[in-house]
């Protein structure tokens, strides 16, 4: 419209050239100093009044001690290759059709298996071989076929799920082979704290990588159960939450929001969809000055009349 186009042109021309109008005194350093003082008072005050959360980390030892049934069930699943991690796909293993995709786009497979994890070997068999007194069941397991191993772990998993309170000590008799002995030995090892060290050190003195410990913990229900009780799981707004009554990463609200609504909520490729959407939205925010409509909203919704009310009043 011609009525709008003229002021727009004036406005753009004014914005392009140096301001030739009235000035006001401005002290950059003074403003920065006042800002630092005010923010400093706020930071110290908030810290003194509210502090910060620090819920103790859990360990494989505390898991084995607090929830032995869950620990044994998880160890059995790792041994049988039926855990979530065992069928995760890249970057941990090669599981067919396990990756999240959008049509033919399969970004997850691009990395290949860069953090290889064999759940039976890395979480159960390997750690047990480090014990001074190796369980005899290890030899039986090593000498058996894959088919036999699968039959044993499947039978034992079923039996555990049917046992009262999933208690490994109350499982009925069955053809479980060396599996109960192996999982019990691992449970006892974890209860001493030895498994924490073995899983994280990877035969090295130094340790900075906790991938295997966290992934093993995540395959059980104890870890996620604690997270759920602290309102930290994905369906509870996930990573933007913090333990206790703290604001957490509230700036991730939109990222967390998509996981709460359809079609993302129940999509098998929800992570890929949400991350892709957020990348697109971030790109759109970055390019707002060039996007018709979005760049014009500030003209149509006159919030600027409030911001520059003194200017408009005196114009």
């Amino acid at each position: 419209m011609s009525g709008r186009s003229t002021p727009r042109r004036n406005d753009d021309a004014l914005a392009h050239r140096p301001w030739r109008g009235t000035l006001r005194e401005y002290d950059l350093f003074k403003e920065l100093t006042v800002g630092v003082v005010v923010v400093g008072v706020l930071v110290l005050g908030l810290s003194a009044v509210f502090g910060s959360p620090d819920d103790r980390s859990i360990t494989l030892r505390s898991w084995a001690t607090s929830a032995p049934a869950d620990f044994v069930a998880t160890a059995t699943a790792e041994l049988g290759g039926t855990s979530d991690l065992a069928s995760y796909g890249p970057p941990y293993n090669r599981t067919p059709d396990a990756t999240q995709t959008i049509g033919a786009i399969d970004l997850q497979s691009l990395s290949g298996v860069r953090i290889p994890i064999d759940t039976a070997k890395d979480f159960v068999i390997g750690p047990l071989t480090t014990l001074p007194a190796r369980p005899a069941a290890l030899s039986v397991w090593s000498a058996s076929t894959d088919k036999q191993r699968t039959a044993w772990t499947t039978a034992y998993s079923d039996a555990l799920s049917k046992a009262p309170k999933n208690d490994p000590t109350r499982v009925g008799k069955g053809a479980y082979g060396p599996v109960p002995a192996l999982t019990t030995a691992l449970l006892n090892m974890a209860r001493t704290g030895a498994l924490d060290g073995v899983l994280s050190t990877k035969n090295s003195f130094f340790n900075l990588d906790y991938s295997r410990s966290i992934l093993f913990l995540g395959d059980g229900t104890y870890f996620s159960g604690l997270a759920s009780s602290l309102h930290l799981t994905g369906d509870q707004w996930g990573v933007m939450n913090e333990t206790g009554n703290y604001p957490g990463q509230s700036w991730l609200w939109l990222f967390s929001f998509w996981y709460q609504v359809e079609p993302f909520k129940s999509a098998p490729n929800a992570d890929l969809l949400v991350v892709s959407l957020m990348l697109l939205l971030t790109l759109a925010l970055t390019l707002v000055p060039f996007i018709p409509g979005l760049r014009s909203l500030p003209r149509w919704i006159p919030v600027h009349r409030l911001i520059w009310r003194d200017y408009y009043r005196r114009r």
Partner: protein
Amino acid sequence: MSVEGRTTETPADEPSARTWTGKSRQWLLRRLPPEKLLPDDQPSYVASWIYVFGIGAIASFVFVILSGIVLSLNGPLWYHVSVLGHFVNSTHLWSVELFFITMVIHLWGKYWMAAWRGGRALTWITGVVSFAVSIVAAFTGYLLQTNFDSQWIAFQAKDALNAVGIGAWFNVADLGQIFMWHITLMPLAVAAVVVLHVILVRMHGVVPPLDAAESDAQLRSTTPSLIDTEGDAR
């Protein structure tokens, strides 16, 4: 454009430089002369509380860095066992929260001011990039808490990163990797983008009000000294 206006302000008696260093100095002085870098006046329309939040974000960032340095000096486990360490950790948390609060208000303010006008698009872009980089920086900080929260965030966040194929290189359960990202790479990245953003703000000046016109009173009664400056420029 302001930059073009300043081009002719290069001292006439300074010969055109022939070295890379001299050319760089002259280019920098043309683009960002001292009176633009450290101004002691601003256009009269720069008079709103919304302008406070940009400086508030920078002030918060100062406290993020200072508290982060103290935490770095003592290592990531210190705050679990020390009352002073816990307090410093709290100041780190709250300065980060204030950093984001002020930055988001600043961003929204600039949106409603359409502050990208007049060749300021790169200023807007660097602002959004600093916001995005800050989110990654804060995320690595949450992973570095070495407590239950960081354990769970590491377990949960791996899926999103793996889904887009970067989890293999940016491994959220690798404390050593995350430690280095948080205390070196990300602070450098945030600081670099923020500095670039502030320099661009100083170079281009604060955007005038929407619909401002030459007939406005603030433009009719111009400052003599500024007229002289512009006159000299011509």
